[in-house]
């Protein structure tokens, strides 16, 4: 168990006419090795929730335990928490500030007290993890890189802190399809090779379906669905009720099944759909 959240609530402008419950009694457990897709509308509380996990926002009530440390403890070291829980914000390239790619990525680990060879190793390995070539790029200014590269520098800056839990808030926002696929591939690699637990906040059902093994759906400050990915997309009507969709391919399979065809309807990718339809067609041919 990596994170345990108990009865967490956060209220904006308490005791004023503008009072708003951004988080409403959240209970959640995140285990090591989870790849969680966090979905919900703008204003559903997703971003507020993830900003609580590394102690950047402080709850109105409730508790959060990260890797055995109660983060609201008086003695809790916030730097240690922020090292364990890495948070990549939306459009992270907007926070780059150093003269070189190397210095920018080194900012986090330096704040943790790393120096010399160890620091260099950290920067180098995190650049490799996000697919940036260390030797050609380390001395370049981050501001003259392409949009996709800038974003990867920013993500590397968080990975360089070696978090146990990595949270990415809309990491593909504004990228074109190939840029999006590259970033998602790297996130998958981080998960599979480095064993980092991941929370992916996203609007794209297709992306979440492809990558995550568990999905949290937030609505009006509450977690309304917390289940395995395949199970979640079976609840299409529940999702549609709050205005969220399911991947087009899942939707197609459900539609196809509803016409009286005996196929699985918990399909998540085009590849799976192809297998299932081929099986179905061959069955029918033989019958």
């Amino acid at each position: 168990m990596l994170v345990k959240i108990n009865n967490l609530s956060y209220i904006y402008n308490p005791n004023t006419p503008f009072e708003k419950k951004a988080l409403d009694n959240i209970n959640l457990q995140i285990d090591e090795g989870d790849f969680i897709g966090l979905i919900g509308h703008t204003g559903s509380g997703k971003s507020t929730l993830v900003q609580h996990l590394n102690g950047i926002m402080k709850s109105t009530s409730g508790s959060i335990i990260v890797d055995g440390i109660n983060i609201y403890d008086k003695d809790a070291n916030l730097r240690e928490i922020r090292q364990k829980v890495g948070l990549v914000f939306q459009y992270p390239e907007h926070q780059l500030f150093e003269e070189t790619v190397y210095k920018d990525i080194a900012f986090g680990p330096k704040n943790l007290g790393l120096k010399d060879e160890e620091l260099k190793q950290r920067v180098k390995s995190s650049m490799e993890l996000v697919g940036l070539d260390y030797d050609t790029l380390k001395d370049r200014s981050p501001f003259e890189l392409s949009g996709g590269q800038k974003r990867r520098v920013a993500i590397a800056g968080v990975i360089a802190m070696k978090p146990k839990l990595l949270i990415l808030d809309e990491p593909t926002a504004g990228l074109d399809p190939s840029g999006r696929d590259e970033i998602l591939d790297e996130i998958r690699k981080l998960y599979l090779k480095e064993g980092i637990t991941i929370i992916l906040v996203s609007h794209s059902m297709e992306d979440v379906a492809k990558l995550s093994n568990r999905i949290l759906v937030m609505h009006e400050g509450k977690i309304i669905i917390n289940d395995e990915t395949r199970e979640v997309f079976k609840k299409a009507s529940e999702l549609e009720e709050i205005g969220l969709g399911i991947p087009q391919i899942t939707s197609f399979m459900r539609e196809f099944k509803s016409k009286g065809n005996d196929v699985r309807d918990d399909i998540l990718t085009v590849e799976e759909a192809k297998e299932e339809i081929l099986k179905y067609l061959r069955r029918n041919k033989n019958a």
Binding site: I56, R79, Q95, F97, L112
Partner: protein, 265 residues
């Protein structure tokens, strides 16, 4: 903290003070400020207080809101009090260590502090009852005669509008970048002044870069919407002086004229 600042904030309403022509309001507040610097005794302050009170009453402004506007300036008001109490020579009342307190000092301190409070309150009366757009329109119109001597009246007003438009956006952005750097272990809260200033670099550099990017995009968007400076520009809401605007302006000129003249009586 940044959200507590009420100076420059608009308190929407539908009163005659709100509807008064912004040019008239700017001139009246100009007179108000000028008269504060002419006043040399306590008595005219009663009239000033009366003026503030009546405006607050008619414009239906909550007193709390106005007091909140003074809050960020407590420190400056305290310094004013402090300096005047100890720096004014005169009849010594008592001494604390090397500091002497005089009767004139106390009187001067209260006088100066009141002037400051009135100055702030008066100015906030203008901004609380005038929308930023009306305010910039008013300034533009009032300054336009000075165009002949090369004063860029329209450009100044446009700059003010854009600044007002982007303040909330930039505040939000500051908050976001701050959080993002804190997530990477940045510390904005501890250390001595020198360290703190140094720690601001990861906040200020991205903020400036983003502001330049925004400015660049905004300029392109304005160009695409046919913006070419103030010449031949029309306005959705043109300012027109009505009779009651003129009446109020004249009455206030007389009122503040009287206050100013008290200095010479």
């Amino acid at each position: 903290m940044l959200r507590d600042i009420t100076i420059g904030q608009y308190f929407p309403g539908d009163t005659i003070i709100h509807k008064l022509d912004p040019r008239v309001k700017i001139i009246i507040i100009g007179l108000f400020i000028a008269s504060l610097f002419f006043i040399n005794s306590f008595y005219p302050y009663i009239l000033i207080l009366l003026f503030i009170g009546i405006v607050i009453k008619i414009a239906k402004l909550p007193i709390k809101f106005i007091l909140k506007g003074l809050k960020p300036l407590y420190f400056i008001i305290l310094i004013t009090l402090f300096i005047n109490i100890f720096m004014t020579k005169g009849e010594v009342l008592f001494t604390i260590g090397p500091l002497t307190v005089t009767k004139e000092g106390i009187s001067m301190a209260v006088f100066m502090a009141l002037r400051l409070v009135f100055l702030i309150t008066g100015t906030s009366l203008l901004t609380l009852t005038t929308s930023p757009i009306a305010l910039t329109d008013g300034i533009e119109k009032l300054l336009s005669p000075f165009k002949i001597i090369g004063l860029p009246a329209h450009e100044l007003a446009m700059m003010m509008t854009i600044a007002l438009r982007f303040i909330p956006t930039l505040l939000e952005e500051t908050d976001k970048i701050m959080k993002a750097q804190m997530a990477r272990g940045a510390d904005f809260e501890s250390g001595n002044i020198l360290n703190r200033a140094k720690n601001l670099v990861p906040l200020l550099v991205p903020l400036f870069i983003n502001a330049f990017r925004r400015a660049d995009e905004l300029a392109t968007a304005m160009e695409a919407r046919c913006y070419r400076g103030g010449d031949n520009r029309t306005r959705l809401n043109e300012l027109k002086l009505k009779n009651y605007d003129i009446a109020i302006l004249l009455s206030q000129i007389a009122f503040f004229g009287f206050i100013i003249s008290t200095r010479y009586i």
